[in-house]
Amino acid sequence: MQATICQTAANPSLFSAESFVGLIFLVTIGLIFAGALIATTSKRLVRCIAGLALCFTGVAGVYYFLLSPFIAMMQMLIYVGAVSILIAFAIMMATPEEDDIPGNQITRFAGPLGFALASLIFAALSLLGLKTEWQVFPKTGAGDMQAMGTALLTTHSMVFELISFVLLMAIIGALVLARRGRN
């Protein structure tokens, strides 16, 4: 039974270019793990957002390994450059003084409960991904930036228009929400 799909089955020798690429991939995975760990467990929100930026940098590296440098670039621009900075601004504007009030009966159990739930979901999803026999279809397109541009303006043009409308609504809504209550 073929459990997982590997594109090259051959083992590269230790001192070849392929094994160096594999080493970089391991470093990228380490970045994602460390970043996600800091982002979810750190006490201070500023450290959380630094961990989130680290994690997203690692995810951009993995997108490069998934043969789409364009999406990796967009990940760096949108997530690391825009979303993280936006949340950092929110932390600067809306974080009260540090106060370690012990939570009530429900919030004290939130940590272990969340850990149990997350590990259950992780185990289930990993088993599902590793044990299923995925069906591989032959490639019909190149999937490069030219194909993406063509698809964006022909096949997916309706979604493209809708997403610009959603972004416009988000801008107007954010302005209205943040301005209310100010003199």
Partner: protein, 108 residues
Amino acid sequence: MYLLNLYNCLGTYLVLGAMLFAFGIYGLVSRRTIIGMLIASELILAGASMNFMAFNRFTAPDPTIGQMFTLFIMAIAAAEAAIAVSIVISVYRNYKSIDAEDIVDLHG
């Protein structure tokens, strides 16, 4: 070395996506502040995008579709983050707190 050939296997990316999703769920449950929950939800979205991109490289016939999905997820995430941040600022202005347990005015 099997470890150094991991980047050519579909399973690696699926486990990575599941890991990001699980971290997001953990943060979403255990965090008390709204901003912490927002950070965790960004991790969940990253896990979903990772799965789309993995299947896009290994199994999908047309490799544009998965990249398109990821691009649209990014756009939605940006819009969601902008709205959530303005809600956080508006809540902080009214309650002087970002703890999710303080915003219970409809509780009766």
